[in-house]
C-alpha cells in the first residue's frame, strides 16, 4: 500500500477531486496547510507598513491506495493540479504497512 500526499493550490481542489473520482479513487482526506517554497510570499500592508507573508495557503491531500494504483494517482493529481506557475506544489509517495477500516475491521486493500 502507498500513501500519496499532495500539496496543491487550494482552488485546484475541485478539479483534482473530480479527476481522482474518474480513475476510481473514492476516498481521501484533506487538510488546510501553509506552504513555503520557491513561490514568493505576498506583501501585506498593515497601517502604512509592508510585511512579507512567507507562508501561503495550500491544501494537502492524503490518499492511501494500492501499490499498483499509486502511479496513476500521482499522474492524475499532477495533471489536474497543474497550472504551470511556481507554487503548484509537490506530490510525495510514502510506504504504508497496514490499513484498517474502523467500521468493519477489514485490512489491506479491502479497507480502502
Amino acid at each position: 500500500m502507498k500513501k500519496i500526499e499532495a500539496i496543491i493550490k487550494p482552488f485546484k481542489l475541485d478539479d483534482v477531486k473530480e479527476a481522482l473520482n474518474e480513475i476510481g479513487i473514492a476516498g481521501m482526506t484533506i487538510s488546510e496547510v501553509k506552504g513555503y517554497g520557491r513561490q514568493k510570499g505576498h506583501k501585506e500592508i498593515y497601517r502604512g507598513a509592508e510585511y512579507v507573508v512567507d507562508f501561503l495557503p495550500k491544501v494537502k491531500l492524503e490518499i492511501v491506495t494500492e501499490e499498483s494504483k499509486a502511479e496513476e494517482v500521482v499522474n492524475t493529481i499532477r495533471e489536474a493540479a497543474y497550472t504551470g506557475k511556481i507554487g503548484d506544489g509537490k506530490i510525495f509517495v510514502l510506504p504504508v504497512e497496514e490499513v484498517v477500516r474502523v467500521r468493519t475491521g477489514e485490512k489491506g486493500r479491502e479497507a480502502i
Binding site: Y46, R47, E50
Partner: protein, 408 residues
C-alpha cells in the same frame, strides 16, 4: 424643574447610551488587531473600564470634575456619591435636562478615555497593575483636565480654551498618556522581527462601525440639547469621519499601492477624533478640511512610528494624540461665531489670539498628561511589575491573565 425639555433629555439619554457603546466598540476595534491569543485580554481592558471608572466617577470623579470649583483647579467633594445630583437641572452645564442625565452622560466620557490608552500597551501588560494604574490615571489625569477645560470655573476654560467634545479632555489626554506608556512598558517580544498581523480585521471594522455610530452621541450630544448646534456637531462628525477615511485611503494608495480596509477604518477614527474638539464650533466645509488633514497627518505619524522604534502597538499616539492636537489647533483656525455664537472666531476669521489660546491649551494638556502618566506608570511598576513575564507574553493575555481561550 419646569424648564426640563423632554426632547433634550431624550437626546442626551440616547447619546449617553451611544457613548457607552463606544467602549466595547473600541474593545472590538482593538481586539481585531491583536493576535488571537490576546483578543479577550484586549477587549477586557476596555470593558472593565466601565466598572472601574464608573465607580470612581460616582464616588469621586464627577465631583472632582464638575463639582463646585476650587480655585480653577479641581471640583470640591460636594457631589461625592451623587449627593444632590438628581432630577433638577444643573444650570451651570445643562439647564434643560436633569442633572443626573448630565452626570451619566459625562460618566461615559470618563470611561472611554483610559480605555483608549490600552491600545498602546496592548498584548503585554499584566491585568492587576493595569487596573491600579487606570484608577489613578482617572483621578490624577482625567478629572483635573476635565475640570480645567469643562468645569465651571476651570482655569483653561477661563482662559478661553475651547474643546467641544473632548479633543483635549479625551483624545490628547489619552494620547499623551499613551506616549508615556509606550516608553515605560517597552516593545513587545519579537517587535520588528515578527509581523503581529491583525487576527480578525472584520472585528476591527465592526468596532469602527460601532465607534462611528457612538461618536454621533459623543459629539452631537455635547451640545447638551437637541438643537441647531447639535445638528451641526452631528453633521461635522460625519463629514470629518468620511473625509478622514477618504484621505487615509488615498494617501496609502499613493504611497503603498493599495487602499486598505484597515486604512479606511484608521482614517475614519482619525477624522472623528480630530473633529471632536471642533464639532460644534465650525462649519461643515471646515469639518471636511479637518477630516482631510487628519487623514494625511495621522497616516504620516503612524507610518513613521516604526522609524523611531516606538511600539505604540495600536497607534494611540499617532491617531488620538495627534488627532487631539490637530483638532484643537484646527479649531483655533476655523472656529466661527457665525456657526456657534457661544463659541469663538478663529484665525481665519481674523482672531489670532484664539489660536494662541488653543495652542496653549494643547501644550498644557500634553505636558501634564505625559508627565503624570509617566510618573504613575513608574510608580505602579515599582510596586507591582507592569509587564507580563516572557512565558506569559508568549502564551498570550487570554490564557495567562484570564485563563480563557477566545476560540474553540
Amino acid at each position: 424643574m419646569e424648564q426640563i425639555q423632554c426632547g433634550d433629555t431624550a437626546f442626551i439619554l440616547v447619546s449617553a447610551a451611544l457613548v457607552l457603546l463606544m467602549t466595547p466598540g473600541l474593545g472590538l476595534f482593538y481586539g481585531g488587531m491583536v493576535r488571537s491569543k490576546n483578543v479577550l485580554g484586549t477587549i477586557m481592558q476596555s470593558l472593565i473600564m466601565i466598572s472601574v471608572v464608573s465607580l470612581e466617577w460616582v464616588y469621586l470623579g464627577y465631583s472632582m470634575s464638575f463639582g463646585p470649583d476650587i480655585s480653577g483647579f479641581v471640583g470640591d467633594l460636594s457631589f461625592v456619591g451623587l449627593k444632590g445630583v438628581g432630577a433638577a437641572p444643573n444650570p451651570d452645564y445643562a439647564p434643560t435636562i436633569p442633572h443626573m442625565v448630565f452626570m451619566i452622560y459625562q460618566c461615559m466620557f470618563a470611561v472611554i478615555t483610559p480605555a483608549l490608552m490600552t491600545g498602546t500597551f496592548a498584548e503585554r501588560m499584566r491585568f492587576a497593575p493595569f487596573l491600579v494604574f487606570s484608577v489613578l490615571w482617572a483621578v490624577l489625569v482625567y478629572n483635573p483636565i476635565c475640570h480645567w477645560v469643562w468645569g465651571a470655573g476651570g482655569w483653561l476654560k477661563a482662559k478661553g480654551v475651547l474643546d467641544f467634545a473632548g479633543g483635549l479632555v479625551v483624545h490628547l489626554s489619552s494620547g499623551a498618556g499613551a506616549l508615556a506608556a509606550a516608553l515605560v512598558i517597552g516593545k513587545r517580544k519579537g517587535y520588528g522581527k515578527e509581523g503581529f498581523m491583525p487576527h480578525n480585521l472584520p472585528m476591527t471594522l465592526l468596532g469602527t462601525a460601532l465607534l462611528w455610530f457612538g461618536w454621533f452621541g459623543f459629539n452631537g450630544g455635547s451640545a447638551l440639547a437637541a438643537d441647531g448646534i447639535a445638528g451641526v456637531a452631528f453633521t461635522n462628525t460625519h463629514l470629518a469621519g468620511m473625509a478622514g477615511m477618504a484621505m487615509w485611503v488615498l494617501v496609502e494608495w499613493f504611497h503603498r499601492g493599495y487602499p486598505t480596509t484597515l486604512g479606511a477604518a484608521s482614517g475614519a477614527i482619525a477624522g472623528l477624533a480630530t473633529v471632536t474638539p471642533a464639532a460644534g464650533f465650525v462649519g461643515p466645509n471646515s469639518a471636511i478640511l479637518i477630516g482631510l488633514i487628519a487623514g494625511v497627518g495621522c497616516y504620516a505619524a503612524v507610518s513613521s512610528k516604526t522609524k523611531i522604534g516606538l511600539d505604540d502597538s495600536l497607534d494611540v499616539v499617532g491617531i488620538h494624540g495627534l488627532g487631539g492636537v490637530l483638532g484643537t489647533l484646527c479649531l483655533g483656525l476655523f472656529a466661527s461665531k457665525a456657526v456657534n455664537p457661544g463659541g469663538a472666531d478663529g484665525l481665519f476669521a481674523g482672531n489670532s489670539s484664539f489660536f494662541m489660546t488653543q495652542l496653549f491649551g494643547v501644550g498644557v494638556v500634553l505636558v501634564y498628561a505625559f508627565v503624570v502618566t509617566f510618573i504613575l506608570l513608574k510608580l505602579v511598576d515599582a510596586v507591582s511589575r507592569l509587564r507580563l513575564n516572557v512565558e506569559d507574553e508568549v502564551q498570550g493575555l487570554d490564557l495567562s491573565q484570564h485563563s480563557e481561550t477566545a476560540y474553540n
